[in-house]
Symmetry: C2
Subunit: 638 residues, 2 copies
């Protein structure tokens, strides 16, 4: 089978209502407002070397570092998101802003290529002394992703050249050769960016440096983070002043070599970025052991560590993973960035093996764990994404550490990346929702247009229009949640039972005007968690198609939504609500509610009084866009 | 009405089985083993000035301080607990150990009376520069409580003299007079210790200093913690190196003057210690505004912020309070120290107003939130006390910050303090459980013996034996949880309906051999939480008498206890189990359990399969004394 590669978003026209709205919101509101926020918060100024503004009196992290050491990454991520916007439509004003940033970076860059604005501006003598905590490589990775995206959008190389010089410097300093340091970044990210650069330029030394970083990670003899800490201590003559809050190297997935890792541990975003690069590297180098590690880690997340929303990382303490089945709802950290990064990883796994189980999670994370991070208006955010709320958390218009804001904008701005893959011999659909592309398949130009109101409806039409008769395969993902899919080509039913690994392959001679119709019934479903998830025992979650639902107080007035219990026998009904969020499908059911009564004490012996009630559930990603109030995903069963 | 004051534990012989066992365990195992732990962990050595051992490489708190700055308090608390042990029975070996500690402290004390071993040994130039964080007054408070207890047990004044010199130094430095600093400690504690000293010696300057500390707290113009921070910054020429993690002064209840405080905020133990001293001071100075503040704060805790176990402070982040009704179970911090301190506060409130509502909480905290912190063997501890567990947390044999260990030992060693109060005109019983005392009431010596198997049984006999005929009142607390109490004197039924504020007063002429019988029926009860406690919605807690119950896996084998649901109609039965923990009453009920089946996925659409089950609940304070396993207090209802 020919290898499938993602169809680039620049070649995808998104016309479906759902994603068109999100994309336009991000292009017209989110990305411009993020630039303003970067300015208001001193981040754009921080790269203006050699005279950066005085350090802000920002609240410091308890371990002493400041988020200012990550600021280069925020600049890089904005450039990346904005460049995706340019790929949709050029905009001289945005290009001017990016060019100004690039010139700032060019001025900041040290003669040897080093480029980290915090260190260059504040403590140049300390560069590369704390890879464990201080994010030089992480920042470089995000700047590199920005440079690649800007090059792809505009053809301008200057930013890319700057970054290539920095990479040359890094690859000279770090490696296994004589005189080289065996360091690697405490927050993974540059690895996946190096793979992107390798895909862009084919320059094998970028692949090699990525392989070095991944292979060296967790090497215990001696552990590099011990080596550099001892150096700092020797220099300072005592206990390291840079305290490592997290105690062990699981936090950064450097507790052992990556091929020996079989449990997902530590900081969730770090982990996802690492696994993304591992999957890329495994694919590119045919590394069976690395692929196997990815698969084992994937199974560990899926079997024991993922929220039903595809949120990852229950704990705020380490912004990451704890133990199996530990999935508290109200305190779920489930950082938006982690679900975005899960999408990256799932996409890489999907291209290692075209298996629908990866696309199912990609889709789940997209519509739930990731999208929930961005408000309807495109200018408010969630960093942590609880699955239950007493109404306390609200969306922010910016965040102390704004990583999630631009992770969600760069995701949506490039969402076209995730719909389809193509090979010489065909095209594969992973997501649906109204997309159009032109591809050369089996040597023939083919226009392909998928039309649907997905995810609200599973009624999908795909028009396949080759310039001339052509034989190629069209692979259609049959979602794992879909029990009774039907597929027809020009009205002729296909055998959906022949689908393998979640994809139905239609290999035929195509002619202009051919139409595939795909019927993915999406009756509302109740989900039950494995009983080892003690937080969800006796509870039920509601889902329809790829969308997880929740009860929000504004749709269920009269008090906290936690007062409802849903009888197991209660049937879920759908209701199309044109009046809500420009048209959504809600779920309704008969339920039981604790009656508002004379309950005044904190505890009492008299049971609460029940009354019949009707509940309305909305898609989880839409919560917290109206009045503040309580919310619950896992509803107690009666 | 004559003012009631607590009967001192030294005048109380505890012979009832429940408390006798706990007391003997603490005297024979807990207190001796704690001395060993203080030694093993470098704490006893840390007061050996001028040459303390080199600073340990202890893990530092993220904000940079070390728990070593609290170590004086640990020494003080051990001396206090050990002194209570001496009040039960003198022990030359323990006295020798305490005397050695006292001599260390005498050697350490500065010529001007200052006595903080961390500062004297490590950074003498910095003393009194960070009252906000560094606990000098807190440490002094605990040393003072130790000194008072040791004086009371042995009559030896040396420790007390040392502490009085230190207090003189402090009262000279801090106050509202000319040239004085307007500081007060960031962790309250010394205030209540000063009140104890005032009660002991009658020296009004200790009362005045306590009043100063309480009245100055939260004074906004200017806020002392701003003043001292600015001084540190001026000295260091930049941003304060001692970071205040908690952002605002609610953490230490210094966000506004105490009489204006109406919501319980911040660090739970700090809050409870403050309110304890406020109640003492209000009583001693007839300060109506201060008393009113105590009452408002009390109502706030009771109505919105207390776990059903009398645990306090849901959040590990600030070891304290969050918002109303935020009472998560699995992540409950509910520090043992906070429930111990709630007992202190409740006792003070009870002596401001002899109202059973305070005694009810005192009892609840005693039997649940506090006692749970100490293992059956007396040598293992819980610092945080969750109300639900997946089996992960286990008891510690010591703690990085060992505050709770000696809070529970000093509580149990002096538990006799909480049973009774006496005035010139009578005696009041707050707790029951087998206690004997001799008091002078109405000028006549009276032996009073209360015999019961409380809390397992509410069948209580109180023998009142005056030396001669005497008229005085005996007040009997009728617990708030008791619906159908019966009281008789010499077999003659009394009108329990005449009880006011939870106390039935029997005022009569007593003669030797008089017997009060008290029948407090304690059928098992189901408790329901106010629906605003979203974590407990649809759940029920089990209670009998003062004891909250829980399901622990070892009594309910076959998997996680979260698989059970308790039908509302299911009746609770008691079972006396002589085989368990030397005899306890368990609760049993018919329930429904999720069946162990082929559930392998994390989420699925097929509902779990139920089966009938029987559950056994044990008292919450006894959990985590056998095999590790899951536990739940709030059981889902079916």
């Amino acid at each position: 089978m020919a290898r499938y590669a993602p169809v680039n978003f620049a070649d995808v026209n998104i016309h479906g209502k759902f994603w068109h709205e999100r994309l336009e919101t991000v292009l017209t509101r989110t990305i411009p407002s993020q630039y303003d926020k970067l300015g208001e918060n001193g981040i754009l100024e921080s790269i203006k070397l050699p005279d950066p503004p005085p350090p802000l009196r920002l609240k410091r992290h308890p371990n002493g570092f400041t988020v200012q050491v990550f600021w280069d990454s925020d600049v890089g991520k904005w450039v990346e998101a904005a460049s995706y916007a340019l790929s949709h439509r050029r905009d001289a004003e945005i290009e001017q802003k990016i060019d100004a940033i690039v010139e700032d970076l060019a001025r900041a860059q040290a003669p040897d290529g080093y480029l980290n604005c915090w260190y260059l501006g504040r403590e140049p003598e300390n560069r590369w002394t704390n890879l464990r905590d201080n994010h030089e490589m992480y920042n470089a990775g995000h700047l590199l992703e920005g440079a690649i995206a800007y090059f792809q959008a505009t053809g301008r190389r200057r930013f890319l050249d700057i970054m290539e010089r920095y990479l040359d410097h890094m690859a000279e300093k770090f490696g296994t050769g004589p005189g080289q340091e065996r360091g690697y970044g405490g927050h993974e990210e540059i690895e996946l960016a190096l793979m992107k650069l390798y895909y862009l330029t084919g320059d094998k030394k970028r692949l090699d440096f990525c392989a070095y970083l991944i292979n060296e990670r967790g090497n215990p003899e001696p552990h590099y983070y011990d080596v550099e800490r001892e150096r700092r201590e020797a220099k300072n003559g005592g206990e390291d002043t840079q305290r490592y809050v997290f105690g062990d190297y699981e936090y950064s997935q450097s507790h052992k070599p990556v091929r020996e890792q079989d449990k997902v541990v530590g900081h969730a975003v770090r982990a996802m970025y690492l696994y993304t690069a591992m999957a890329d590297l495994a694919a590119e180098t045919n590394d069976a052991a690395l692929k196997r590690a990815c698969e084992v880690l994937w199974a560990d997340v899926m079997d024991t560590k993922m929220y039903v929303t595809a949120g990852l990382g229950p704990s705020a303490h380490n912004e990451g993973f704890t133990h199996d089945y530990d999935l508290p709802n109200q305190t779920a950290y489930a950082e938006t960035c982690a679900s975005v990064a899960l999408i990256f990883w799932a996409q890489r796994m999907l291209h290692l093996d075209l298996d629908g189980k990866y696309a199912d999670i990609l889709e789940l994370a997209m519509f739930n764990g990731a999208l929930v991070g961005l408000s309807r208006d495109g200018e408010h955010y969630f960093y942590a994404n609880p699955l239950e709320s007493d109404g306390t958390p609200t969306r922010w218009d910016w965040h102390f550490c704004p990583c999630c804001t631009m992770n969600v904008s760069r995701l949506v701005a490039s969402v076209g990346n995730y719909f389809m893959s193509a090979s010489d011999t065909g095209i594969a659909f992973h997501l649906y929702g109204g997309v159009e592309t032109e591809q050369t398949l089996a040597g023939v130009k083919v226009k392909i247009n998928e039309a649907s109101d997905y995810p609200w409806s599973g009624d999908i039409k795909i028009n396949v229009d080759p310039e001339t008769l052509a034989t190629f395969e069209v692979k259609l993902r049959i979602p794992g949640w879909c029990k009774d899919a039907k597929v027809a080509v020009n009205g002729e039913a296909q055998d959906v039972g022949a689908a393998t690994n979640g994809y139905l392959t239609i290999n035929r001679q195509w002619t202009a005007g051919d139409e595939i119709s795909l019927d993915l019934p999406m009756p509302p479903e109740k989900l039950y968690a494995n009983p080892h998830v003690i937080m969800d025992a006796g509870r039920v979650a509601l889902k329809r198609g790829p969308l997880v639902y929740c009860l929000e107080q504004t749709d269920n007035p009269g008090g906290w939504v936690q007062r409802f219990r849903l009888p197991r026998t209660s049937e879920l009904k759908t209701e199309t609500r044109a009046d809500l969020f420009d048209g959504v499908v809600t779920l309704k059911a008969d339920a039981i509610a604790i009656k508002e009564d004379e309950f005044t004490d904190l505890y009492r012996t008299k049971p609460p009084v029940d009354e019949p009630a009707s509940i309305t559930a909305i898609p989880y990603y839409l919560w917290a866009n109206r009045e503040q109030g309580s919310m619950v995903v896992w509803i107690p069963e009666a």
